[in-house]
């Protein structure tokens, strides 16, 4: 049983990992075709992975309704929201726009249900970011001051009142807010970002090698 539970899965990781890695560096039609097929396979398996999440969500809310826990009635709206998108999608065959450029039922559901919900949910974060900003911008050290200055230039520099303040304070330098923002993003911020990106890349490569060679196997779960 160990063969089916452990060794074959580890062999799958090893074979697919190494062959995919090698195919990337082999300039041959076969390796290109292999990568195309694997990309398609990955899409298909990930699609089933999405269903795993969907079933899990539905099961969690079904249990809430079944056990009549506090606020169970709201769980019904998860199913209603799901159907509000899926029924129009089936009716419109997955298309948002008709050949005559008018919107379909799916387009309607996206424009008037999903888009307002999504955009508003994320826009609400603006209010919480302000309270976070208050906490993070309490200047306790020179490092916190640097963070504050960078954020301040980025935020105020993009609104008219910020540009007016900048002109009053630093107008004599002939540097515009746009130029200041470009410099902050293009020079010191890029240096910080590059350090992180290079570090992350090294980390990702090492972790990938550990996965391929079966050193890292936490994703297999217990047993």
């Amino acid at each position: 049983m160990k063969l089916f539970k452990k060794q074959i899965p580890l062999a799958i990781v090893f074979v697919f990992g190494l062959v995919t890695l090698a195919s990337y560096y082999v300039p041959h039609r076969t390796s290109e075709e292999y990568l195309d097929v694997m990309n398609s396979w990955e899409n298909i398996v990930s699609a089933f992975g999405f269903f795993l999440g969907l079933i899990s969500l539905f099961y969690a809310h079904y249990n809430k309704i079944k056990r009549k826990v506090d606020g169970w009635g709201y769980s019904l709206f998860v199913y209603i929201g799901f159907l509000l998108m899926v029924i129009p999608a089936v009716y419109s065959n997955g298309k948002q726009i008709n050949p005559d450029a008018s919107i379909t039922w799916l387009g309607w559901a996206y424009r008037y249900i999903y888009n307002p919900l999504q955009a508003t949910m994320f826009s609400i974060l603006a209010f919480y970011i302000i309270s976070t900003a208050y906490r993070s911008f309490r200047i306790k050290s020179l490092q916190a001051f640097v963070l504050f200055v960078a954020a301040f230039i980025l935020i105020l520099g993009r609104i008219p009142v910020g540009q007016m303040i900048w002109d009053q304070l630093f107008g004599f330098t002939k540097v515009t807010t746009g130029q200041a923002i470009d410099w902050v993003i293009g020079v010191p911020s890029t240096a910080g970002k590059r350090g992180i990106m290079i570090g992350v890349a090294i980390g990702a490569i090492v972790t990938s090698l550990k996965i391929i060679f079966g050193i890292e196997r936490q994703y297999m779960g217990k047993d």
């Binding site: 089916f4 539970k5 990781v13 090893f14 697919f16 990992g17 190494l18 990337y24 694997m38 396979w41 298909i44 398996v45 990930s46 089933f48 992975g49 795993l52 899990s56 709206f77 998860v78 199913y79 209603i80 929201g81 799901f82 159907l83 509000l84 998108m85 999608a89 997955g94 008018s102 309607w108 424009r111 008037y112 249900i113 307002p116 919900l117 955009a119 508003t120 949910m121 209010f127 020179l142 490092q143 916190a144 963070l147 954020a151 301040f152 980025l154 010191p188 890029t190 240096a191 910080g192 590059r194 350090g195 990106m197 290079i198 570090g199 890349a201 090294i202 990702a204 090698l209 297999m220």
Partner: protein, 245 residues
């Protein structure tokens, strides 16, 4: 789509937007309804995307009209995908490892060349490239190239834990922190501006839907919500007063 449905859509959109914004006053049933609808609608949207963009063209169509080889190339990943569902059956949940290991193997194999090319080599190249023609740059460009190179090295040193950060090493590492702070500050500023631009968009939509063309949808729904909160407050106050008596 008829004009009536567009007006109805405006009412639905305005109501959902205001229901979510009502959370800024306090947690309430309208927010919770909209929040749960968002979860469901989000899953519904991704479900239809997965079905029409992946399941139909990559599974159902090849199965219906593909050659033997094409059908095999669909059945194998489908079995791997179906194996994931065994996660729900504890006794045979180990079968799901076949699907997960394929995903992990393929992703790990892809992550190495992609990470190496875009995140590693390109970043190193971008840092050292200006030095190839350093003396043909203007003074300001030279200054910028040096700042980027010094900053990148200092940040990398900050994350390098194989040697103890003391003496000169500590100073280099500290300089790295300042560059990181500028990056975090700039990222924070960008995030704030992105969220606010979304917020302006929602306000703009609400103002648009408050026009006569949409039968004053925003105004009516905002008035209804306000009435609800006032009535709720009144009922609570009266109940409190009665219980005190």
């Amino acid at each position: 789509m008829s004009e009536g449905m567009i007006i109805f859509g405006a009412w639905v959109a305005a109501a959902l937007t205001l229901f979510l914004f009502s959370f800024l006053y306090k947690d309430n049933p309208f927010f919770k309804v909209a929040e749960h609808l968002f979860i469901g609608a989000g899953m519904g949207w991704y479900f239809q995307t997965v079905y029409y963009k992946i399941m139909v063209p990559k599974i159902l169509e090849p199965l219906n009209s593909g050659t033997g080889f094409e059908i095999a190339m669909v059945i194998i990943p489908s079995i791997l995908g179906l194996s994931l569902i065994t996660q729900f059956i504890p006794k045979i949940s180990w079968i799901s490892r076949y699907g997960f290991t394929f995903l992990m193997g393929y992703s790990a194999g892809m992550a190495i060349p992609v990470g190496l090319a875009t995140d590693f080599m390109n970043q190193v190249l971008g840092t050292i490239e200006p030095f190839a023609n350093f003396f043909s740059l203007s003074g300001f460009e030279m200054f910028n190239a040096l700042i980027i190179a010094i900053g990148t090295v200092c940040v990398l040193f900050y994350f390098f834990f194989s040697v103890e950060h003391k003496g000169v090493g500590k100073k280099v590492s500290n300089i790295g922190i300042y560059f990181l702070m500028v990056y975090f500050g700039a990222s924070f500023g960008n995030t704030v501006m992105a969220r606010f631009s979304l917020l302006y968009g929602r306000f703009d939509t609400l103002v648009n839907y408050s026009s006569a063309k949409y039968l004053y949808a925003t105004s009516w729904i905002a008035a209804g919500l306000t009435l609800f909160f006032v009535a709720e407050k009144l009922v609570k106050t009266l109940t409190k007063a009665e219980s005190a008596e």
